[in-house]
């Protein structure tokens, strides 16, 4: 399963949604996502500091496990293995939250 997951994420081309703007409000990083349907289902996404830093560094680029893991290795003293599994988890979370361009 894991192997298939990595394979999939590694080859899928995905970019962060350009319409979302990352903002710092007090100590928090947030993005307000205006719902586009008839009923107002606007959302506020909250990011921790690492996710916010990754967001800034991934803007406009293809988001791959390799790239995210590379960024994590740059910033933290982590093994390639750990960075890869964290990168995968982050991409999945972004996916679920609908933060990638359709």
């Amino acid at each position: 399963m894991e192997g298939i997951g990595i394979f999939y994420y590694f080859y899928a081309m995905r970019t962060l949604r350009q319409d979302l703007v990352l903002r710092k409000v007090g100590d928090d990083y947030i993005m307000v996502d205006p719902g586009q349907g008839m009923v107002d289902l606007s959302k506020v996404h909250t990011l921790n500091e690492t996710a916010a830093w990754l967001w800034e560094n991934l803007t406009g680029k293809d988001v791959t496990v390799e790239r995210v893991a590379g960024l994590l290795c740059e910033r933290f003293e982590v093994t390639q293995e750990r960075a890869t599994s964290d990168a995968l988890a982050l991409i999945r979370e972004f996916e679920v939250a609908g933060l990638f361009e359709a």
Partner: protein, 314 residues
């Protein structure tokens, strides 16, 4: 009888929250009768500034269109089932429907709401109410580019110096809470009861302004005070004030702000301004009863115990 709009329209100017609004209409309309709540906001001539928005009122039917555009909303507290909001390629269309076609009102606005044309029937007895409401729609969007947000709130001014805006869903008791302040907190006055404007000025100070729109309460004050706090109200069987920090401050105020969700630029501009505002103004949540103690509690939270007067210091 067809009126040629190019030759017969006159321009009137209003200044609301420091922004100019130009209204072009037939000189036969008695505008102070039509829009009495705007009278205190009239200015004689446009000074050198460009109006934030220009609205032209035409007493005619809207041009025939094959399709209205993409229906974006049909939810309006004021107009119920008769409200429609459409997005077209380069414009937004606000429609107030009526079973009689001649009684339908349509406004077409550029995407930034800087230019709008209202089509309607001058014989409609609802004309004043309709035009006032449509001007509010325009002002709420056009103001966003000037770091101004039209909010849904009841506002009191304390010592004609500081403002407190009470937020909450319709029916929560915003007006009731304002009234409790007027009764129990010394030196307070109502600034606006429904749709004040909040604006960050060039010196980074946040002000709240009275407007010509105040819901059911005729309180159309053309004045401003420095905004001290937003207080989101929630009905509860007790009184409790909780300060909201960081993202919670933004989330507490966001649902009370006007910005259409279908123009990303306007929406992001609004969120930008709001992020700055909540960094400078206190935000709190008040779970409350409709009683004097609730007013003492919120006034104490915002101004300290002295403002509440002797009764609040127990």
């Amino acid at each position: 009888m067809k009126i040629n709009p190019r030759t017969t329209l006159t321009s009137l100017f209003y200044e609301i929250a420091g922004l100019q609004l130009e209204l072009r209409l037939s000189p036969t309309v008695n505008v102070d009768m039509l829009l009495p709540s705007f009278t205190g906001f009239r200015i004689n001539v446009a000074n050198d500034r460009i109006p934030a928005a220009t609205v032209t009122l035409l007493e005619s039917e809207p041009p025939e269109e094959n399709e209205m555009g993409v229906l974006r909303s049909d939810i309006s507290v004021v107009w119920g089932d008769n409200f429609r909001f459409y997005e077209r390629e380069n414009t937004f269309v606000t429609q107030i429907k009526h079973p009689v076609k001649e009684m339908q009102w349509v406004m077409e606005s550029t995407r930034d709401f800087k230019e709008s044309v209202i089509y309607g029937n001058a014989k409609d007895p609802r004309m004043g109410e309709l035009v006032s409401w449509l001007l509010m729609v325009v002002f709420g969007q056009a103001g966003l580019q000037y770091q101004l947000i039209l909010i849904h709130a009841s506002v009191i001014a304390h010592r004609a110096e500081h403002g407190v805006a009470f937020l909450g869903k319709s029916g929560t008791g915003k007006s009731t809470h304002s009234k409790l302040w007027l009764q129990h907190i010394p030196e307070t006055a109502l600034l606006n009861d429904d749709n004040p404007a909040v604006r960050i000025e060039d010196n980074d100070q946040v002000f709240i302004y009275g407007t010509p729109w105040s819901g059911k309460t005729p309180c159309y004050k053309n004045s401003k005070v420095e905004l001290k706090a937003f207080v989101r109200l929630e009905q509860a069987p007790y009184n409790r004030f909780t300060k909201q920090e960081n993202m919670h401050s933004l989330i507490a105020v966001l649902p009370s702000c006007t910005a259409i969700r279908w123009n990303k630029t306007l929406f992001q501009t609004m969120t930008n301004t709001l992020s700055r505002i909540v960094g400078k103004v206190m935000v709190g949540q008040l779970e409350c009863l409709p009683d004097a103690q609730a007013a003492y509690m919120s006034s104490k939270a915002v101004f300290g115990s002295k403002a509440a007067g002797h009764t609040g210091e127990n």
